[in-house]
């Protein structure tokens, strides 16, 4: 191991190719831009988590005693805006998509490296506007910017925040555009569509949503801003404007946006589960196509957010049916992952622990989504904590869990260092326990009728709320631990070698950290994706893997 580490130290890579702030801020290397994104979104994750902790602290007691009602409105709004627009949407595509897509397709870079750097700057400028809104008194419209409250009545700085969301939208469009073009045009020789890793299929589907959905949000926000600034009347019922039109336009993007957050996470799970079961993903074609199916169907379900908003019953029933359809490709994925485990040589490294957490939590989050898609149940639990619990099971239990899986799985590739396995397993456990303790009581609270977005509640809900707040503090520790031990591992971590997991995939066939242009020479692909049977076959590169790890 020693000799290997010395040679990989000496080898020029994307981290030691150049030094200094300028070499990072003006880089067009997709790997460095991925790192820039990783640092930025981590900061926003901490900020959004800070707002969440204040929310949970307020809800520890039934009385509104920690913050004023107005302040509470701002806290949940800023928690939502920061977490969704500045963390969840860019989290996996802009960090791992950026870092891995070119390597997985055997390219030297994304198709448009300058556009890629521009997307980070655009993201930061948009984030700047949102932060400006936060520090000049905060935003209180909810992350959904519903009219006419956002256009007429809110006294907070709506225009700055809306402008920020508008601008970050373009960074998302540019990332999506770059990924689509890269997958189409930059694949290595022999890398046919059906040999692509499922991570790529998931990101391709995500990018299609980004490219088709985000512009609609952009124009909607332009109309909101115009209305607020000049009283145009488009969404104002006093002038015959239709506030529901805003909701239609908003959810036309924002429901597919949920799939922007979850599809890349699903791609991560496919990569990890194949590696740690030492098997090809069961039903590769179905898993790949289910990503595309989710992207397509995801555009047809938006009005299930509006059952009680005044749409017709018939429309509600049709959207209900269409929403049930989305559950099918999601279930295809879950069943195929589970089938992948069958007769696999399963090992329990940290990324795999997160994979197991993901499958369980996403299943709960997804199935409660089916409950909510049913009009009758939705009428009962609309705007209650049931909804809050549902989407946190998908967004945190799904996306954040997969983000952590990805971070641990590809950390050795990104940095060339191993993270400390014991600490990371402990933190994975804390995340799982803390998460369930935080959000499972919220299902019960919602079903019992506790509405969301209030800073005070009747005393009979207190026990469950105390459980939830206690869980949140455990979850916070679980999230902070990786930040500490991963930073520690940069200096003190063991050298990882090029492929510590003996994983398939082109990104593992280059050195860790990779050289600036990823591969010393463009690879030619002659094998199918996830060829673990060949890798582990007698005489294959990792036969008797256990012995090698022990040595």
């Amino acid at each position: 191991m020693e000799t290997i580490s010395h040679t990989s130290q000496a080898k020029p890579n994307y981290l030691n190719a150049d030094y200094g702030l300028k070499s990072w801020l003006l880089t067009t290397d997709h790997k460095r831009i991925g790192i820039l994104y990783l640092i930025s979104i981590s900061v926003f994750f901490v900020l959004g988590g800070f707002f969440a902790m204040l929310i949970r602290l307020e809800l520890l007691t039934p009385a509104g005693d920690l913050v004023l009602a107005d302040t509470y409105n701002k806290l949940f709004t800023m928690h939502g805006v920061v977490m969704i627009f500045l963390f969840l949407l860019p989290a996996i595509p802009s960090v791992f998509g950026n870092f891995l897509v070119p390597m997985m397709v055997g390219a030297k870079d994304l198709a448009f490296p300058k556009l890629n750097l521009a997307s980070w700057y655009i993201f930061m400028i948009g984030a700047g506007f949102i932060m400006y809104s936060v520090i000049t008194g905060g935003l209180d419209t909810g992350w959904t910017f519903y009219t006419p409250y956002s256009t007429t009545y809110s006294n907070s700085n709506v225009v700055a925040a809306a402008l920020g969301v508008f601008i970050t939208g373009f960074s998302s469009i540019f990332t999506g555009l770059n990924i689509i073009v890269t997958v189409h045009r930059m694949r290595a020789p022999g890398l046919t569509w059906r040999r692509l890793p499922l991570f790529i299929w998931a990101h391709y589907a995500t990018s299609v949503i980004m490219v088709l959905g985000t512009p609609v949000l952009a124009v909607t926000i332009v109309l909101v801003a115009l209305e607020r600034l000049f009283h145009f009347g488009i969404f104002d019922a006093r002038y015959g404007g239709d506030p529901l039109l805003f909701q239609h336009l908003f959810w036309f993007y924002s429901h597919p946006a949920v799939y922007i957050m979850i599809l890349p996470a699903m791609g991560v799970i496919s990569e990890c589960i194949a590696c740690f079961s030492r098997k090809r993903v069961f039903g590769y074609d179905f898993v790949a196509m289910s990503s595309i199916a989710i992207a397509v169907l995801g555009f047809l379900v938006w009005a299930h957010h509006m059952y009680v908003a005044g749409i017709s019953t018939y429309a509600a029933l049709i959207f209900s049916l269409l929403t049930f359809f989305v559950a099918i490709p999601s279930a295809v994925k879950v069943f195929n992952w589970t089938a992948t485990l069958y007769k696999g040589s399963i090992t329990f490294e940290t990324p795999m622990l997160y994979v197991f957490a993901f499958i369980g939590l996403f299943t709960i989050g997804g199935l409660t989504g089916v409950f909510l898609a049913a009009v009758g149940i939705d009428l009962h639990v609309t705007d209650t904590y049931f909804v809050v619990a549902h989407f946190h099971y998908v967004m945190v239990g799904g996306t954040v869990t997969a983000f952590l899986a990805a971070l641990h799985f590809w950390w050795p590739k990104m940095t060339g260092k191993m993270y400390p396995e014991n600490f990371s397993k402990a933190s994975a456990l804390l995340v799982f326990i803390g998460f369930n303790l935080t959000f499972f009581p919220q299902f019960l609270l919602g079903y019992l009728g506790m509405p969301r977005r209030y800073h005070a509640y009747p005393a009979e809900f207190q026990v469950l709320n105390v459980l939830s707040t206690a869980g949140a503090s455990i979850l916070a520790v679980g999230f902070l631990m990786p930040m500490i031990y991963l930073a520690w591992s940069l200096q003190y971590g063991k050298d990882a070698g090029d492929n510590p997991w003996h994983a398939a995939g082109l990104e593992w066939k280059t050195s860790s950290p990779p050289p600036t242009f990823n591969f010393d020479e463009t690879p030619t692909v002659t094998w199918e994706a996830y060829n673990y049977d060949e890798i582990d076959a007698p005489g294959g590169p990792t036969h008797n893997k256990g012995v090698e790890v022990a040595g």
Partner: protein, 223 residues
């Protein structure tokens, strides 16, 4: 400078050859134009919804439009598309001077369009047809003036966003003119001209839809 040297200077490191690079750029531009379709699509959807809600108000609003100015602008834009496609053509042939002339003509026609649009906006301003507290609209017909305000809101939003795209396009044309003057475009490498061309045609096409929807389609109806 020999040809192959020019080629290496223009070829970005991560592409196999210039053809690969150009095909990739074109593909990316088309994807970007799809996002633009979705961007304007949101506004067109709002237009459609309100036209169905408030047909009479739509007719009343539409009948105040200066069809003559709109028609002139339509011709101006179609001509600018012609000069744009010619500049792409000449850039591919490597004729620097003709490329410059066509680019300049496109720029002038684009500015003409914006000038005429400004005249129209000024007219609406003078007639208190700009949405807001001072909006005032009195013509014959069976409608609520507030609903006409929504028509004008969408009119200004849609033509305003279109004009913004024209201004960005004008900036791109100036950038092309500078690069062309420096002799950066050759028969082998002229991708930027073609990309801006695609963008310019798209923006023209948006107007081709805006003109009938806002000016013509309701004109002969009686409100």
């Amino acid at each position: 400078m020999p040809d192959n040297q020019v080629a290496t200077q223009d070829l970005k490191h991560h592409f196999a050859d210039l053809e690969h690079q150009k095909a990739t750029s074109t593909f990316g531009m088309w994807i970007f134009l799809i996002t633009e379709i979705m961007f304007f699509g949101g506004a067109f959807a709002a237009y459609l919804v309100y036209r169905l809600y408030y047909f009479n108000a739509w007719v009343a609003g539409s009948q105040t439009m200066e069809i003559k100015l709109g028609a002139i602008n339509t011709v101006v834009l179609i001509c600018s598309s012609l000069t744009m496609v010619l500049s792409v053509h000449f850039a591919k042939l490597g004729k620097r001077k003709l490329t410059a002339i066509c680019l300049l003509l496109t720029l002038l026609l684009g500015c003409t369009f914006l000038g005429v649009k400004a005249v129209e906006y000024h007219g609406h301003w003078m007639h208190h047809e700009v949405p807001g507290p001072n909006f005032h609209f009195e013509h014959e017909g069976n409608y609520d003036p507030h609903q006409v305000m929504i028509f004008f809101s969408l009119y200004f939003a849609m033509t305003g966003l279109h004009a913004l795209h024209m201004i960005i396009g004008a900036g791109l044309l100036i950038w092309l003119l500078i690069f062309n003057a420096r002799g950066r475009f050759t028969p082998e490498y002229n991708t930027p001209v073609e990309m801006v061309g695609l963008y310019w045609h798209f923006v023209d096409l948006v107007w081709i839809y805006l003109f009938p929807l806002l000016y013509l389609i309701s004109h002969s109806h009686n409100g």
